[in-house]
């Protein structure tokens, strides 16, 4: 076990908890993602432990903890909490200083952020009132169709035209999907329709903020190629997808933790 200090960013989201560790030299040591349980504070503890294990570090090596995400204030042992808006912007800008816009679709909310040239937040919009058109929506739809989330995106790309799904409300869309199946619609076209429905919603959010390249997409839904392709068509820019899009908030938090020393 190394005694070198490290800095932790923890993003306690509605669906998953994420942790990122930075070393003193500015290198990223490890990251971890676990499902958030009912006890958010416990999820934060567990995800940090997992990241520390990966890095081969002991708990007392953690010098500073910045918590973000909707459960940030439940992390009582944090050094500071910073909102997910600021942390996503910081994380995205760190990965690419050319980033001027971020689209984040998480488990239960989505956000669009416009960045200034220096990486600071210029404007943001959040949809946090319900889970319509978010990760949770895709999970429920995948379950209804008997598919894994991994298959969702690639299968959605197979269809030439999407089936028409008019609602992003999880409850209404589920009934629409069932009706479409009953009418003999193909699964591929339904999947493409669901991706189009999500895109419509996030497109209006993004337009209100104003998108400028480079646009980075973060959050779990960025792993769904069907949604990514549709958003690219809608906004007219190619999306940069980080290697692990789910940890960008935690990454930003870890960078702030490192700043604090």
């Amino acid at each position: 076990m190394s005694a070198a200090p490290c800095y932790a960013g923890i993003d306690v989201g509605s669906a998953t908890a994420k942790a990122v560790l930075f070393g003193r030299d500015g290198s990223m040591l490890a990251h971890a993602i676990i499902p958030s349980g009912g006890q958010l504070s416990l999820s934060a503890e567990l995800v940090l432990t997992k990241a520390l294990e990966k890095a081969g570090l002991a708990r007392d090596a953690v010098q500073t903890v910045v918590a973000t995400g909707y459960g940030r204030d439940t992390v009582t042992w944090r050094t500071k909490s910073i909102t997910e808006i600021t942390c996503h912007a910081r994380g995205a800008y760190f990965l690419s200083p050319h980033v001027r816009s971020v689209i984040d679709i998480g488990g239960q909310d989505s956000k669009a952020i416009s960045l200034a040239q220096d990486g600071s937040v210029r404007k943001f919009e959040m949809n946090d009132k319900c889970a319509a058109g978010t990760g949770r929506f895709l999970e429920v739809m995948a379950r209804t169709l008997g598919l894994s989330l991994e298959d969702f995106g690639p299968k959605a790309l197979i269809a030439d035209t999407p089936a028409k799904i008019s609602s992003t409300c999880t409850v209404f869309a589920e009934s629409e999907v069932i009706s479409l199946l009953a009418q003999g619609e193909t699964v591929e076209r339904i999947l493409a329709g669901l991706c189009a429905a999500i895109t419509q919603r996030v497109h209006s959010l993004a337009s209100r903020v104003g998108m400028a390249p480079e646009v980075m997409m973060t959050g779990g839904v960025a792993k769904n190629i069907g949604v990514v392709k549709r958003i690219e068509q809608a906004i007219g820019f190619t999306l940069t997808i980080p290697e692990e899009p789910q940890i960008i908030g935690a990454l930003g938090a870890a960078l702030y933790a490192k700043d604090m020393g």
Binding site: I82, T86, G119, V121, F124, D128
Partner: protein
């Protein structure tokens, strides 16, 4: 904070905690009570007619009765007010005064009148274009009509009585301006929440009752020595109605110091010139045309964003938070332009969509905190 200040804020807070207690008391003492809807209502006129003026406000909770007869896309303020009226919560009013503002409230006035015919509803149909001689002539005639309606209800209302009310309201507005000035300089002396107890109470009490309490408060604040210590971002609020104090405390708890506003109940209700001497009805017309136009009104050459920018600069505000009541079309249409003007002027702006009958949601805090972080430089984080 001085003991006197604390005590006097406690009085205002008590009024807000039981909003219609003062009006009920006036009613029990034999004074007729007039409920009014908006700061464009000519309060001086019905005050001169002997009415105790009280602002009609929304309340928390569902609106099942209103939902029966008004569309779901009407704002929460309109639905809540109508629901209260239909539930008989305003039975103690002897008169209801609407000023024509947006289409939704015009419809609420009509629905109120047809569903609760026992209370007279007066609609003051002022011009939405508040400029030019023909509009002024028209409004003067409208005021004469309303004067006639009030006289039919209450007997002769002399010009002297109208002047007395005009002067009283002027004094009250001047004192509100002093309160805002002292608080801009020393926001540490009282919280924004405390300020809005005073502002709200001004709408729930007759000016002759509110003014002495207000004067005491302002004098005790002005007597404080020392310099302001404020390390949080200074924020100006803007928007339409803002009755729910939950929003104010949520904004403050997220790390903002509220230093000024451009709200219907706030600065727009007292940023008015003195009435010119002479005919009091002309004076009321002058006041109506001098108001800072709310987005339901239009005055050529007036730019709401520019007004907010200037006001924010005068108040040394680091940012503006716009409280947009969901489904309020006039504000929603103006917002993109307002945002652009403030952005060009270097004042960051946050839009918070609110509902008047629902407590401030927890998510609101994340947005305000993110806004605070946006204002503070990255180095400070």
């Amino acid at each position: 904070m001085a003991i006197e200040t604390l005590e006097s804020i406690g009085l205002f807070q008590a009024v807000c905690a039981d909003p219609y207690k003062t009006a009920h008391k006036a009613s029990e003492n034999g004074r007729p009570v007039a409920g009014f809807m908006c700061s464009y209502s000519p309060q001086e006129l019905f005050h001169a007619a002997g009415y105790y003026p009280v602002r009609i406000t929304a309340r928390h909770g569902g609106t099942p009765r209103a939902d029966e007869i008004i569309q779901a896309y009407s704002c929460s303020f309109a639905r809540s007010v109508l629901d209260r009226a239909l539930s008989g919560e305003f039975e103690f009013l002897d008169l209801v005064v609407f000023a024509h503002t947006c289409d939704t409230l015009q419809n609420v006035a009509d629905l109120w009148r047809s569903n609760r015919p026992e209370v007279p509803v007066v609609i003051v149909s002022g011009p939405t274009l508040t400029a030019g001689k023909p509009a002024q002539t028209y409004f003067r005639q409208e005021l004469d009509r309303v004067h006639g309606v009030l006289e039919s209800l209450r007997g002769k209302i002399s010009y002297e009585a109208i002047w007395d009310s005009l002067h009283l309201y002027e004094q009250h507005r001047a004192m509100m301006r002093r309160l805002y000035a002292v608080r801009r300089a020393r926001p540490d002396l009282m919280s924004g929440q405390d300020l809005y107890w005073v502002v709200q109470a001004a709408q729930l009490m007759s000016p002759e009752e509110h003014l002495p309490l207000l004067s005491d408060l302002v004098e005790s604040l002005e007597a404080e020595n020392g310099e302001a210590e404020c390390f949080q971002p200074r924020v100006m609020l803007a928007g339409s109605v803002c009755e729910d104090s939950g929003f104010i405390s949520a904004i403050e708890e997220a790390g903002c110091t509220i230093v000024d506003d451009d709200l219907c109940m706030g600065s727009r209700s007292f940023l008015l010139p003195e009435a010119p001497e002479g005919d009091p009805m002309d004076a009321l017309t002058h006041i109506y045309f001098s108001r800072i136009p709310c987005p339901a009104f239009h005055r050529p050459g007036f730019d709401p964003g520019q007004h907010m920018l200037e006001r924010a600069r005068e108040a040394h505000a680091d940012g503006v938070i716009l409280l947009l009541t969901k489904f309020c079309d006039p504000w929603a249409f103006d917002y993109p332009q307002i945002w652009n003007t403030l952005e060009m002027g270097g004042v960051p702006t946050l839009l918070l969509e609110v509902e008047q009958n629902v407590p401030a949601p927890a998510q609101l805090r994340t947005r305000v905190e993110a806004f605070v972080e946006m204002i503070q430089s990255k180095d400070e984080l």
